[in-house]
Symmetry: none
Subunit: 214 residues, 2 copies
């Protein structure tokens, strides 16, 4: 049983690359292609496909809007979003609209293929990096997700202070709970703010929450 795929991607070179990767798996067949969301929608009117692979950034109509419309017209059609690491902001909205998966363009080909199989057999697939960024947003509580960036630039002590700031603690409370003087806590915070290029504890707290440190 072959899987009929609609590939939506504006850059012809990337599109061809993806097509080659997909058709390494003999089950997959790219039977339609489109360069933007509007084109994709009109293609779907005339052709039956099993799966849509959709780029996020495109002219005319982007992947977010296109996914929304496709899903409202064909709720059972599988849609997988192709994205770059920077585009994860959109992930939230698109999942809401019913996308079945989120894959990074930079993935290994095998990873891409196995994820597609997983979606076809009825799953929702999020790639690790995206899931890591998304889950805190959805779950709003500490998962594991210690950011690489943060840990590179901050020391153990600083990290534990950041967490407490992210819980809304005052310097006095932090000092008490870590058995430090208030002055020391202040010094640490000054250093942290400089390191992370933030202005005050409020921005630091926001940073901590958004990065799932709390």
């Amino acid at each position: 049983m072959t899987v009929r795929i609609l590939l939506v991607e504006d850059q012809a070179i990337v599109r061809n690359g993806l097509k080659l990767i997909l058709e390494q798996d003999e089950e997959f067949q790219v039977i339609v292609e489109a360069g933007n969301g509007i084109e994709a929608l009109s293609r779907l009117e005339h052709t039956h496909v099993d799966l849509v692979l959709m780029d996020v950034r495109m002219p005319e109509m982007n992947g977010i809007e296109a996914t929304k419309r496709i899903k409202s017209l064909y709720p059972n059609l599988k849609v997988i979003i192709l994205t770059t690491f920077e585009d994860d902001e959109y992930a939230y909205q698109t999942l809401k609209d019913g996308a079945n998966g989120f894959l990074l363009k930079s993935s290994e080909p095998e990873k891409l293929l196995s994820s597609i199989h997983s979606v076809l057999s009825g799953g929702l697939v999020l790639q690790e990096d995206i899931a890591a960024k998304l889950m805190p947003k959805l779950l709003r509580q500490s998962v594991v997700a210690k950011d690489v960036e943060i840990q590179l630039s901050l020391t153990e002590r600083e990290l534990s202070i950041v967490k407490l700031v992210g819980e809304g603690k005052s310097n006095k409370e932090i000092a008490n709970s870590l058995f430090l003087s208030i002055g020391t806590v202040k010094n640490h915070i000054t250093n942290i703010l400089q390191e992370l290029d933030l202005r005050d504890r409020t921005q630091l707290a926001i940073y901590a929450v958004k990065n799932g440190l709390v």
Copy 2:
């Protein structure tokens, strides 16, 4: 490269069945087995594994608690939860604790295997039925909370100030962007803090972020 698996499941018959399925894929090797969470943890101390397949319902220590502990001890170890359709209540908590996937025991063997591959290559996999039940729950949480609780108690003006605080803006910046005096902004914030039972702008910012106001 073989994948070393720890299989945690209390019923011997089911465990053997799963083992047979898993080892149909020559990459997979069940090298350790455990009948409950406590056993699983002690096995992990002595043996290195790449993946844990964990049943939810078990005597002594259930899969939820076990996953939590395993993930805090070995954050990079992949954990997939095996569940029945009725157990989806737990899914939420366990995802929070960092589980990498959720599979139904009733799945087709191939589905199971492809999902495991997907998790190993860095994904988060939710099976359709579970995702369908879970997503609304997750999406509702962060979005709806805002309208119900907060908007009941805060005025328009106050709400717009809360958002700016949630972006890390200072009183001066808020005053400028809303064309108010600094004193007015301070007054508003005092009222907001009282209304929401918070202490300072940092706690307010955290509140705003966690409730998806930013």
